[in-house]
Symmetry: C2
């Protein structure tokens, strides 16, 4: 079964807006075995809308549209589709009553214009919308196509799809459906991840893999369409094992778990606490470590010390050390880590110092140079990174990810004692 | 002139990827007077691609596609378009030579498969791609349509559009083009912004306004198509003045300047410095205050103090005060602000304490309750906020925005002395 998605709305043709409803719809349709073969965005023009729906009706078994069901002159989905399918638009008293009730509840008179939302193409099934005035509509054409009209407001669209559309579609959808996995990788560029895992692809010709690059790392999404759930799950498990080997310690999770979730689990399992002292990342590391509920169980505190005085005052870094080695140095990173660990009485301390850019670089200490220190009761050490991003935000994000990864590796791949 | 944008690639039909190239293309096309009337995403199937391009050729004056120009079997844009337009595909020696040179530069032999990228539909103008192997192609149909094929890699697409496509399109584009403004608003929900400014819309029927809601606040983008630049600019200036009135102190900027940029300017103009002590926002405020280059000129430092001990140790909040008033209280917010201001010797101190959720709320102190304190040499005061977001991240973002806004208001709308 093949689906086409049409998003209606002139604001979706500006340079500021994307049709994000289609991501939700695609995930839901795939889950019940329906593939999306085409997506379109059209404005409010009746001519363009007609052309788009006509095109969709030629190739899709299911057409799902979002938007254009409001009460104004610009909302033309109902009339366009009725005309295209040769159906009359009839006033539905039940919908009208529901809309009037809704307005009464908010103590407002129903504007005359809203009555349009009660106009329904002949033969349509009405999908009640508990969150808004525009109901969804389900139509079946003489050629056996299914046309589903949904409102564009994401919360309304989602609720309607979940409660009304999905159960109906599931009854007609094929038994084949989509199975997926989500691998998260850190510390490798997209091209390197691709090079390492692509030999696996040839072994699993039935599977497809999407690679996504985000500031938080690389994600791999292997997926397979199958009628046989146990077989598909087994194949994906095997495939993930094959992909995991060349990724080694860079593999953060195979089940969609985020870096923050992995760290939260490791800290909790080890009854460890953490405190951080950041310079160039400006609070981003603390922000990431506290973005999960319950983080107060392991995160004790952090300091953002931009100036040298603050490095001394807040994290106890000796002024003489900063003078001797420079604020951006391996030694100061370690001292920041150890200083904050002691002042917070934490199990682990992390220190970051570097040059986020775009200014402040020198030939010896260029933009992108970052030192990250980690300290525990046994001692401290630090790592040097040279990030090459041109922009400040990217360098800060990469430094934050590298620091989070140091915490992960601290638990999973402890260094031999003499390495400290 | 009307444009259609087609994005080619099966990965763009998954639930994880959006065609973001179209935002760049739309902005660029609008800037030279070309409106985008339809966007489509198609997979790698020749049948679907043919249908999409045929549809586009029926209604658009300019068709811009991205993707499908690679060397593999799945890259079918060249062949599909050549077939649809009835053109032969010919090997272009110049392109072949360029691709071979590119591989030689990286000391790799050119795989035979890459020769496909040198196949060009008869009559096409070749747009050299300095960043990749696939050149762009420019075709003109007998009916006078312009078809532009670009690679899908964003950096290649952007460079090709800037250098090769834009100057060529500008020669044929109409004199009418798009004029825009960008207003940023803080501290009001989207519906309230809409209610306040929508009466203005009727006064400017030629203008359209897009409203965008982001964690950093609401944005309004009024825009107008016009052949007369001075007239359009004047009309937009007037319209912005009209919209600004009902927004009052909530209006952050009318020229796209971000909250962080406004604060950086105000701090610099006033030769002021700032330090922050955060609890529930976990470093997010410091991160925002340091995300601009040069922030070390005004940002002295920050502390993230989750535990009560850290509030005392890092920001000098008396333990007795926390005991008497509770960690989440107006008094502790003020004490955090004043404590960090003094320890960092800053002009302004900010303190935040609250309950981000989802746990930790009580009937008296529910999730979303946040106190933000601000201190300067004249004293300190604090504000109570009750954010209603269900999710933790949203509450943290709203608290961060509210704190940034307090700094902005401190300079722009100083409180009378007795209000402190």
């Amino acid at each position: 079964m093949r689906a086409e998605i049409i998003a209606v709305g002139s604001e979706l043709l500006t340079s500021e807006r994307l049709d994000t409803n289609s991501l939700f719809l695609t995930a839901e349709l795939n889950r019940i075995g329906i593939r999306v073969i085409h997506k379109a965005v059209v404005g409010d023009s009746a001519e363009e809308m007609t052309a788009s729906f006509r095109h969709a009706l030629e190739t899709g078994d299911v057409i799902v549209s979002s938007g254009g069901l409001g009460p104004t002159d610009d909302d033309r989905t109902r009339t366009t589709v009725a005309q295209l399918l040769g159906r009359k638009l009839l006033l539905n008293e039940e919908i009208l009553e529901r809309i009037q009730t809704r307005f009464r509840r908010y103590n407002r008179p129903m504007p005359e214009i809203n009555a349009r939302q009660a106009m329904v193409p002949e033969g349509a099934i009405i999908l009640p919308n508990p969150r808004g005035t525009a109901p969804g509509l389900w139509l079946e054409t003489s050629a056996g196509r299914i046309v589903i009209l949904l409102p564009g407001v994401p919360s309304e669209l989602r609720a309607l799809f979940e409660c009304e559309v999905k159960p109906r579609l599931a009854r007609v959808a094929p038994s084949e459906r989509l199975f997926t996995r989500e691998l998260r990788i850190t510390g490798l560029p997209e091209s390197e991840v691709e090079a390492r895992v692509s030999p696996t692809y040839a072994l699993y010709p039935d599977a497809e893999v999407t690679i996504l690059a985000a500031p938080s790392g690389i994600q791999l999404h292997p997926r397979i369409w199958s009628k046989n759930a146990p077989q598909a799950e087994k194949l994906l498990d095997e495939m993930v094992r094959q992909m995991a080997l060349p990724l080694g310690e860079h593999l953060v999770s195979i089940n969609g778990e985020t870096m923050e979730e992995v760290i939260a689990r490791l800290l909790t399992e080890n009854r460890a606490t953490i405190a951080v002292a950041e310079s160039c990342t400006g609070g981003m590391l603390a922000e990431h470590l506290t973005n999960l509920a319950g983080s107060s169980n392991y995160f004790l505190g952090g300091v953002v010390c931009y100036s040298n005085q603050m490095k001394t005052a807040l994290a106890g870094v000796p002024a003489s050390l900063i003078e001797a080695k420079g604020a951006v140095s391996a030694e100061v990173a370690s001292a920041l880590a150890d200083g904050i660990r002691k002042s917070a009485a934490a199990t682990i301390g992390i220190g970051i110092t570097g040059i986020a850019g775009p200014g402040g670089g020198t030939p010896e200490k260029p933009v992108g140079l970052v030192y990250i220190g980690i300290a525990d009761e046994h001692g401290m050490h630090s790592h040097e990174y040279r990030f090459s991003a041109a922009d400040r935000d990217r360098n800060r994000q990469m430094a934050t990810q590298a620091a989070l990864d140091l915490v992960r590796r601290h638990f999973l791949f402890p260094r031999p004692a003499n390495g400290r």
